[in-house]
């Protein structure tokens, strides 16, 4: 989880950014929600990896989390977990 080197991106050319939400603060809040959800997802994936590695090996050698690759079955489980997680966080959007 080392810090990433800052990078300057090129400017985006095209029409001005559309605004779908009248209140600029609310718009930013939604952007924060998206960013937070990806951060939490990364944390959850790490925890899941840690738990599975610990369960498999009983110890946690250096670099184990970085190099561990889930089996197909674990990959499928994670995918379904991720779907459930997305529904929990953004479920309000499906309600009238």
């Amino acid at each position: 989880m080392s810090a990433a080197t800052p990078v300057t991106l090129p400017e985006l050319a095209g029409p001005p950014r559309p605004h779908f939400i009248a209140d600029a603060g609310q718009e930013r809040l939604w952007n924060v929600v998206v960013a937070l959800s990806t951060e939490l997802a990364a944390t959850r994936a790490r925890l899941d990896t840690l738990e599975r590695v610990l369960a498999e090996r009983g110890t946690l050698p250096a670099g184990a989390v970085e190099s561990w690759q889930p089996s197909t079955a674990a990959g499928v489980e994670r995918t379904h977990d991720m779907q459930d997680y997305t529904r929990r966080v953004f479920g309000a959007l499906t309600r009238e």
Binding site: L9, R17, P18, A45, T79, M82
Partner: protein, 428 residues
């Protein structure tokens, strides 16, 4: 299950077998087969992407963030869209929309629509920015991998860049699907960062449904061509607007005896495409920097000239020039094909709005206009004879055909159901 299908579903890792290098390993990646997960149309995680020498490397955290965005998009398409459609149809039964703008007005009455739009736009921005950041950070490593992949004289000769080339306005003024810098980011020498970012985002946006190598359109086009015209044996193929060469490689594989001339504007994309193809063992493609509106004369006498999901990023003038250029560069009896999303004609208002959202808000310069056009008319204006013009549907059979696939709702505009418009040039 066929052995090929079984191989596709083989576990990514097994404790009994040596592990393939993880996607974030520092050493160059070998081009090993990837195994996507048997999860139907649910989003494939990033780590199932097809490997090759110049693939972007993402850390586990970067992969998890990207995977979360793909799940958010899947949720927006599969669960929020049907919810909005229900309300739209009830509202539209009372206040009947007469055009697409009125349909959008009606859609905007639903408070979910603004939030859905914001999340759809923002998740695209974030995905593009993060992949490009990762690619720019890895610029030197990716350049070294590109040099290695093109080290042999044979591989190096597949790449033909033109330092005097000027990119067309439509690529300069609008950076398609919100990729900062568009297709033209180029650090010179062996820089392939833009290609690495482009392929990463392509895999994530569908996500993974176009196959491990994001070549669903190329495979579908080749399969359709062989089924529809089994006696057609093109020897020279022009791929106009080849980008990172994702679909080109599928076509080149399907016609191994043909010489494929793949043309694009972006030097960084073409370098990436050449290095990637070399790493994947594809040798019958020349990657050429040139203007697709004026294909150089030396590539004349082609048997097939096609665009695959390219024209909606250009302009009406460019489309006309591309069609004219196809007519000029085809041999008598040659075939031109153009694959795009299906046109809007007569589709329900809700579907039109969903499809047109990308045209309005995802930096697709010509999207809203092209899907109103009759591309058959445009081919006729370019010189093709009416009776030789045709259209058909081309579909990408889902790479992963799990029966549990939810598929409750099509992700309009981003699903592998395309229209192909084509024409035969008159024989000599």
């Amino acid at each position: 299950m066929s052995p090929a299908a079984a191989a596709q579903l083989a576990p990514v890792t097994s404790r009994d077998a040596p592990l393939p290098p993880p996607a974030h390993a520092a050493a160059p990646l070998a081009a090993v087969p990837s195994a996507q997960l048997p999860i139907g149309t649910l989003p494939q995680p990033w780590r199932t992407i097809g490997r090759h020498a110049v693939l972007l490397r993402l850390t586990p955290d970067e992969q998890a963030r990207l995977d979360a965005l793909t799940h958010l998009n899947h949720f927006l398409a599969q669960e929020v869209v049907p919810a909005m459609r229900g309300r739209f149809e009830r509202d539209a039964a009372v206040a009947t929309p007469e055009d697409r703008d009125q349909a959008f007005d009606l859609l905007e009455r639903d408070p979910r629509y603004g939030i859905w739009s914001e999340l759809r736009r923002n998740s695209m921005e974030v995905r593009q920015q993060r992949n490009l950041e990762a690619a720019l950070r890895q610029r030197d490593e990716l350049a070294a991998a590109c040099r290695d992949a093109l080290a042999s004289a044979e591989a190096a000769a597949t790449l033909e860049l033109d330092p005097t080339f000027t990119a067309p306005d439509y690529l300069v003024k609008t950076h398609a699907h919100l990729l900062p810098g568009g297709y033209l980011t180029d650090g010179g020498a062996d820089d392939v960062a833009v290609g690495a970012a482009y392929e990463a985002s392509s895999y994530a946006v569908v996500p993974g449904r176009s196959g491990p190598h994001s070549d669903g359109a190329g495979r579908a086009l080749a399969r359709w061509l062989v089924a529809r015209f089994p006696d057609f044996r093109p020897r020279r193929i022009l791929d106009l607007g080849c980008g990172a060469g994702l679909n080109t490689c599928a076509v080149a594989r399907a016609f191994p005896d043909a010489e494929v001339i793949a043309i694009d504007a972006g030097a960084g994309l073409l370098r990436y495409a050449a290095a990637r193809a070399a790493s994947l063992g594809i040798r019958n493609v020349r990657w050429v920097q040139a203007d697709i509106e004026q294909v150089p004369e030396r590539f004349g006498g082609a048997d097939l000239a096609y665009t695959a999901i390219v024209l909606h990023e250009t302009s009406h003038r460019a489309l006309r020039n591309v069609f004219r250029s196809c007519h000029e560069r085809l041999a008598p009896g040659g075939l031109t094909l153009h694959v795009e999303q299906p046109p809007y004609h007569d589709r329900p208002w809700f579907e039109q709005c969903m499809r047109d959202w990308d045209g309005r808000y995802n930096n697709e310069a010509f999207w809203s206009r092209i899907y109103e056009l009759d591309l058959g008319d445009e081919l006729a204006q370019a010189g093709f004879e009416r009776p030789r013009i045709f259209e058909d549907r081309v579909s990408a059979v889902p790479w992963n055909t799990d029966p549990r696939a939810p598929g409750k709702s099509e992700d309009y505009g981003r699903t592998g159901n395309w229209q192909v418009v084509g024409a035969w040039r008159a024989p000599a």
